[in-house]
């Protein structure tokens, strides 16, 4: 007999997903993806997670690995049935999108 899979409500999955993404760091800048303002949108519907994210520049060397890392981290959340990560360049990321904590970390404030 298989154990019934733990399934969180969509709102809780979304909240867990944001928390999970805040543990993912840009290895070059040393700031997490949420504080960097790289996550544009996160939607959950029936356990299916869809993320729209960007990178600091279209020529970012992390463009191969960061979206994959996001996908892997979100799949760890119980109840997530699928993860779609869209890497977008519009609107273009601006430093002003960073949270105050990220600005402090980079010495901007």
């Amino acid at each position: 007999m298989t154990e019934p899979m733990l399934r969180l409500p969509d709102e809780l999955i979304a909240s867990e997903a944001w928390a999970q993404l805040a543990t993912l760091y840009d290895p070059e800048l040393g700031v997490d993806l949420v504080d960097l303002g790289l996550i544009y949108r996160l939607e959950v519907s029936n356990g299916e997670v869809r993320v729209e994210m960007t990178l600091t520049t279209p020529g970012c060397p992390m463009s191969d690995s960061m979206p994959e890392a996001v996908e892997r981290s979100l799949r760890l959340i119980p109840g997530v049935s699928s993860v779609t990560v869209d890497l977008v360049w519009e609107p273009r990321w601006e430093p002003e999108m960073m949270a105050e904590r990220a600005r402090r970390e980079l010495g901007w404030l």
Binding site: P27, E28, G59, C60, P61, D64, D86
Partner: protein
């Protein structure tokens, strides 16, 4: 909504093999300066000096730039490099060519210069064609794309001239004057290496310092000015050596060099990452060396050459200063990234992974920088004052800095080599 599919970069072993060979070239160059100090002070026109020059520009700098471009070109311009597999076998052609070319120069063995020069030219042209054939699918036309395009054109011209001179050295078809050699040197240093470094610098400064400057008019104007100055200088060196045209076009290049330093300075002022890293201090040393080389170049272009060692000092300021500091500094970003990509990117998102800065020993990096800077200044002063002992002593200090740099790089690169070995072993077991 535009969605860009990732996976444009080749596997890290492609850039890695060129970067590792470039590192070996750097060490050999650093050791070669104190060993050849008496020759360097005496004259620039000597087979041993030619050997050291080609070891540095081909074995160290060009190899490193090829490796860096295999990594950076696809991600920065969002293009897939054509036929990465051929880049792997071409490495062996190029490495064999340079490994035979440099000793042939040193031994004054003209058949070797012609034979291994042909191999080197073949390898260089293959790389250039790989890059040029990739251009039609470039998506992001960043200024780096235009700088690199011009640099590749100059690279072809450089090896064309060099190949003709190498064959001529063996067959003796015509007399090669100092100004003809100067044309070849400037095609390589200002054309291929200079424009590549400038273009890559704009991109990497934006990336690593989070610097964003929307107004790129100065960057593009300078591209035109640099190319016009270089074309004029080369043509005047070939057709009207000793004329005022040489100093006119050398001045155009000098103005362009100043504008480039200003341009990078303006870009750095917009940086959001305020703390200056060891990489950026290397950049400052590189730009200062460019200004020193520019000043020396103007003196030489005026025709008032205080001594033959000033010609060597000019080349040394460009090679060890402008390019050397830039390459060492940028390596502190590029090599950790390659290592991280290979070792940790697959685990990111599932378990904690280190940051890039945690992969580099900062204290070793700063010590290496201090030694390279002190050694560079000492060698330059020794050359200008024609003091072989000073060149030797400072050259040893510089070699110490190069060794520390290599230790730091090897700490990062060795796990990469081990992983590759494991992958090959796994493939054999599967087969």
């Amino acid at each position: 909504m535009s969605t860009i599919k990732p996976k444009r970069s080749p596997r890290p072993d492609l850039p890695g093999r060129y970067l590792a060979t470039g590192q070996a070239g750097f060490l050999l160059f650093a050791i070669g300066v104190p060993l050849l100090a008496p020759d360097l002070v005496r004259t620039n026109d000597d087979p041993k000096v030619f050997a050291l020059t080609h070891l540095s520009v081909l074995g160290w700098i060009t190899m490193t730039m090829f490796g860096a471009l295999y990594q950076l070109f696809p991600v920065a311009l969002q293009v897939t490099v054509r036929s990465p597999r051929s880049g792997r076998w071409n490495y062996w052609v190029l490495a064999a060519g340079i490994a035979g070319f440099v000793p042939s120069f040193y031994l004054d063995w003209t058949p070797g210069v012609a034979l291994f020069g042909s191999l080197t030219v073949g390898g260089v042209l293959h790389f250039a064609s790989q890059m040029l054939r990739s251009y039609p699918s470039v998506i992001d036309w960043h200024p780096m794309a235009f700088y690199l395009l011009a640099a590749l054109a100059w690279l072809v011209a450089t090896v064309g001239f060099g190949f003709a001179y190498a064959l001529n050295w063996h067959f003796g078809w015509f007399d090669v004057s100092d100004t003809m050699l100067a044309a070849h040197v400037h095609l390589g240093l200002a054309g291929w290496l200079g424009l590549t470094l400038m273009g890559v610098s704009y991109k990497l400064t934006e990336l690593f310092a989070l610097a964003h400057r929307k107004d790129r008019r100065l960057t593009y104007a300078n591209l035109g000015l640099w190319n016009a100055g270089l074309l004029g200088l080369v043509l005047s060196l070939l057709s009207a050596p000793g004329s005022s045209l040489v100093i006119v076009f050398a001045s155009v290049l000098a103005v362009s060099a100043l504008l480039h330093v200003l341009d990078i300075g303006l870009l750095l002022r917009t940086r959001r990452r305020r703390k200056l890293s060891v990489e950026q201090w290397h950049t400052f040393a590189s730009l200062a060396s460019l200004l020193i080389a520019t000043g020396l170049g103007l003196v030489l272009a005026s025709g008032h050459i205080p001594g033959r060692s000033w010609v060597v000092a000019y080349g040394y300021a460009a090679v060890a200063g402008w390019f050397g500091f830039a390459i060492a500094g940028k390596s502190y970003r590029i090599v950790p990234f390659l290592s991280w990509l290979h070792r940790f990117s697959g685990a990111a998102g599932q378990q904690p992974v280190p940051l890039l800065r945690e992969l580099v020993d900062e204290r070793v990096a700063w010590t290496s920088f201090a030694l390279l800077l002190a050694g560079f200044a000492g060698v330059l002063a020794g050359l200008l004052l024609a003091r072989p002992l000073a060149v030797q002593a400072a050259g040893i200090v510089y070699a110490g800095g190069a060794l520390l740099f290599a230790v730091n790089a090897a700490r990062l690169a060795l796990p990469l080599a081990v992983s590759r070995k494991s992958a090959l072993a796994a493939r054999e077991v599967t087969a």
